[in-house]
C-alpha cells in the first residue's frame, strides 16, 4: 500500500512523430481508486504501462511509495496488473497462476497456500483452483486475473480495461466486485477504461485524458457537474451534454435571440453546455422543435432543435409531446465555455433571478 506520484511523465514511441503522452502530473493518495478515462488512442494504456514498467518512461518521473521506479524492472516495482485479455498462464492451474508471482519472491510455501486460499474464497474461485484457464468462463478467468493480483498484496493495482471482454451484465457485477474488493483491501489502484459509466461508478477521482494530456482531474460528480472543457463535457455523461452556440450581449446571455440569464461576463460568442436532466419541459420557456424521442423506460430523452442548435432534454413526465415543446433551465446550472479554446469559464450571474425561460 502506497501513494503514487507522477511528475511530468511523457512518452514518445520510437519512430513516432508525436508524443503519445505528455506532461502528466498526478499525485495519487494511499488507497485511492483513480480511473484514467478518455477516447481510444488518448494514451491511457501508455501511461499505465509506464507505471507498470512495461514501457520505458521517456520524460518525467514515476514514484511508488516515495521510491522512484523509472529504472526498476516491472517485477521490482511492487505492482500487480490485470490485463484486458487476462493474460493467464495457459499451462498452469488456477492455483499455480495465482501462486507464481509469490513463488518467485521466495514467499514461504505455507503463506502462499494461505493467501491463495483466501483470494479464492474472496473471489469464489474455490472449486476451480485445480483447473486450467481454458476450462473457465470469461468471468471466471477475469476473477483469476484479479486473484493473481490480490495474492501479491502489492503497493498498487493497475487495471487495463479489465472488463471490456465481458458481456454487459457481467461487467456490471464485476465492476461492483472490483470496487468492493478494492475498498476492503485498501490498495491504491489505477484503472484504465474508455467506458465513462465504468469510470463514474468506480473512481474516487477521475482523470480525463485527451490526446496524451490531462483534461481534468476530479471526483466523478465534480467532473460531471463542472466539466473543465467542452471535451470533458461531451465525453462524460450519457446522453452527452448538449453544446450550443450562444451570445453575450449587453449583459444578456442569448440563445438564438432568446434570453437565458443576466450575466456579468465579457460580451461575445460563447459555447453553452446543457445537461439533459437540467432542462425542463414545461408550460413556459423557449420553443424546441421535437426531432425524435428515445424511450428509456424510467424517462425519455427528447432530441430537438432550437433554431439551428441541437439539444437533448430528459423528461420523466410521460405526457404526450406536441411537435414543439417549451424548454426552461435554472441559470445556475448553465455551463459556459470559451468558444475559441473550449475551456470552461465561470458564469457570473448578475441579478438574483427566478428561473428564466430558456
Amino acid at each position: 500500500m502506497a501513494n503514487l506520484s507522477l511528475k511530468g511523465v511523457g512518452k514518445t514511441y520510437g519512430g513516432a512523430q508525436q508524443a503519445a503522452v505528455t506532461g502528466i502530473d498526478l499525485d495519487i493518495a494511499d488507497g485511492e481508486f483513480i480511473v484514467l478515462v478518455g477516447p481510444s488512442g488518448c494514451g491511457k494504456s501508455s501511461l499505465l504501462r509506464m507505471i507498470a514498467g512495461l514501457e520505458t518512461i521517456s520524460t518525467g518521473e514515476v514514484a511508488i511509495g516515495g521510491r522512484v521506479v523509472n529504472r526498476l524492472d516491472p517485477a521490482e516495482r511492487d505492482i500487480a496488473m490485470v490485463f484486458q485479455n487476462y493474460a493467464l498462464y495457459p499451462h498452469m492451474s488456477v492455483r499455480d497462476n495465482m501462486a507464481y508471482g509469490l513463488k518467485n519472491r521466495r514467499t514461504p510455501k505455507a503463506e502462499i497456500a494461505q493467501r491463495v486460499e483466501e483470494a479464492a474464497r474472496m473471489l469464489e474461485l474455490g472449486p476451480y483452483l485445480d483447473r486450467k484457464p481454458r476450462a473457465l468462463s470469461g468471468g471466471q478467468r477475469q476473477r483469476v486475473a484479479m486473484g493473481r493480483a490480490i495474492v501479491r498484496q502489492p503497493a498498487a493495482f493497475l487495471f487495463d480495461e479489465p472488463l471490456s471482454n465481458l458481456d454487459a451484465r457481467l461487467r456490471v457485477t464485476m465492476r461492483m466486485e472490483i470496487r468492493r474488493l478494492q475498498k476492503r483491501l485498501g490498495t491504491t489502484s489505477v484503472y484504465v477504461t474508455h467506458d465513462q459509466l465504468e469510470a463514474m461508478t468506480l473512481a474516487d477521482r477521475l482523470v480525463v485524458l485527451n490526446g496524451g494530456r490531462i483534461e481534468q482531474i476530479g471526483a466523478p460528480l465534480e467532473v460531471y457537474r463542472r466539466p473543465a472543457s467542452t471535451f470533458v463535457a461531451s465525453f462524460i455523461g450519457a446522453p452527452a451534454m448538449s453544446l450550443v452556440d450562444a451570445q453575450i450581449e449587453n449583459g444578456q446571455l442569448l440563445l438564438e435571440r432568446y434570453l437565458l440569464a443576466h450575466v456579468g461576463n465579457a460580451p461575445g460568442p460563447v459555447t453553452l453546455g446543457l445537461r439533459a436532466e437540467e432542462l425542463r419541459i414545461g408550460p413556459a420557456g423557449i420553443p424546441m422543435r421535437v426531432e425524435h424521442v428515445e424511450e428509456l423506460g424510467a424517462q425519455r430523452i427528447v432530441h430537438g432543435m432550437i433554431g439551428a442548435q441541437r439539444l437533448s432534454v430528459a423528461d420523466g413526465s410521460g405526457a404526450p409531446l406536441s411537435e414543439t415543446v417549451l424548454v426552461s433551465v435554472d441559470p445556475a446550472r448553465l455551463n459556459l465555455f470559451d468558444t475559441a479554446t473550449g475551456r470552461r469559464s465561470e458564469l457570473r450571474l448578475t441579478a438574483a433571478q427566478a428561473p428564466l425561460p430558456v
Binding site: 512495461l54 524492472d73 521490482e76 496488473m81 490485463f83 493474460a87 498462464y89 499451462h91 493473481r148
Partner: protein, 322 residues
Amino acid sequence: MTDIPLAATRDRRLAGRLAAWWRAEPASPAKRVQFDRPLTPWLFVLPQIAVVVIFFYWPSVQAVTSSFYIEDPFGFGSTFVGTENYRDALASTEYRNTALFTAFFCAVVTALSLGLGLLLAVKADKVIRGAESYRTLLISVYAIAPPVAGLIGMMIFDMHMGPLTQVAAWFGYDLKVGIDYWDTAVALITISVWKQIPYNFIFFLSGLQSVPASVREAALIDAKSEWRRFRDIILPLLAPTAFFLLVINITYTMFDTFPIIDVIVKDKPANNPMTLVYKVYLDGFKGNDIGGSSAQSVILMVVVAALTIVQFRFLERRVHYG
C-alpha cells in the same frame, strides 16, 4: 450419324448439370460437406490411397515377404529360410555396431539441432519482436537456406579441398573424413545438425512469436529473472512445437540424413560409421543380399513404429496445448 447429336446433347446435359451443381447453394450449413453420390468422396481420396498403397504398403509387404527368403545373387529363384535372415542380422556385430551408432547419432543430432535452433530462435525473437518486416525477411532467408547449407557443409568437410581439413591441418591434426571412424562421425553429425537447425529455428521462432504479448508481460511482473520466465512460461508454451520437432528430427536423423552419409562414405573404405538405413541400402543394393536387407528394414520399421508410439503415448501427455 445419330451418334454425334446424341453425344452433343449428352455433353450439354452434363455441362448443364455441372453448372447447376456449381451454382447450387448449399441447402443448409450442416449439409455443406455431404455429397449426393456415395462415389464422389472416394474419388477424392483415391490418389492418396493409391500413393500409400503403391509406395508404402506394397513395398512393405514385399520387404516382409522377402525377409524370409534367401535370394540367389544371380536372380535364379529364392529359398525359404524362415527367420534365418533376422537371426543373422541380430547376431552380427557389424549390425549391432551400426544400430548403436544410429542411436548415438540420432540422440546427438536431435539434441544439438533442437538446442541450437531454440537458442537462435530465442535470440532472433528478441531482436524482431514488433518488427514485422524483419521477421518475414529472416524467415524467408532461413526457409531457402537448408539445402544450400547442406551442400556447403559437405564442401567444407571435403577431404581434398575442404577448408576445415585445412584448418585442422594448421593445428597439426590430420582430419580424415571418410577414413577415420570418429572424424567421419563428427563430420556427419556436424553437417546433419547444420542442415536441420534452420528448420527447427523457423518452427521455434514462430512458436515464440505466438506466445501472447500480454502473457509475457504478466510474467515480466511476476518474475524478475529472465531465465525463470523462460523456463516457467515460455518453454512450456513451446512444448507442443518442441514435441512436434522432436518427432520430425528423429525421423530426419534416421532417414533423411541418407544423402549426407552417401556423399561422405560412398566409395570409401569399409570402416565408416553409418545409420541403419544406409546399411539396408548397402547390403541390399551393393551387397545384393536382398533377404538380409529386407529383414533389417523390417526390424527398422518395427523400431520406428515402437518409437513413435512411445513418443505419442508418454511424451505428448506431458505437453500442454494451451
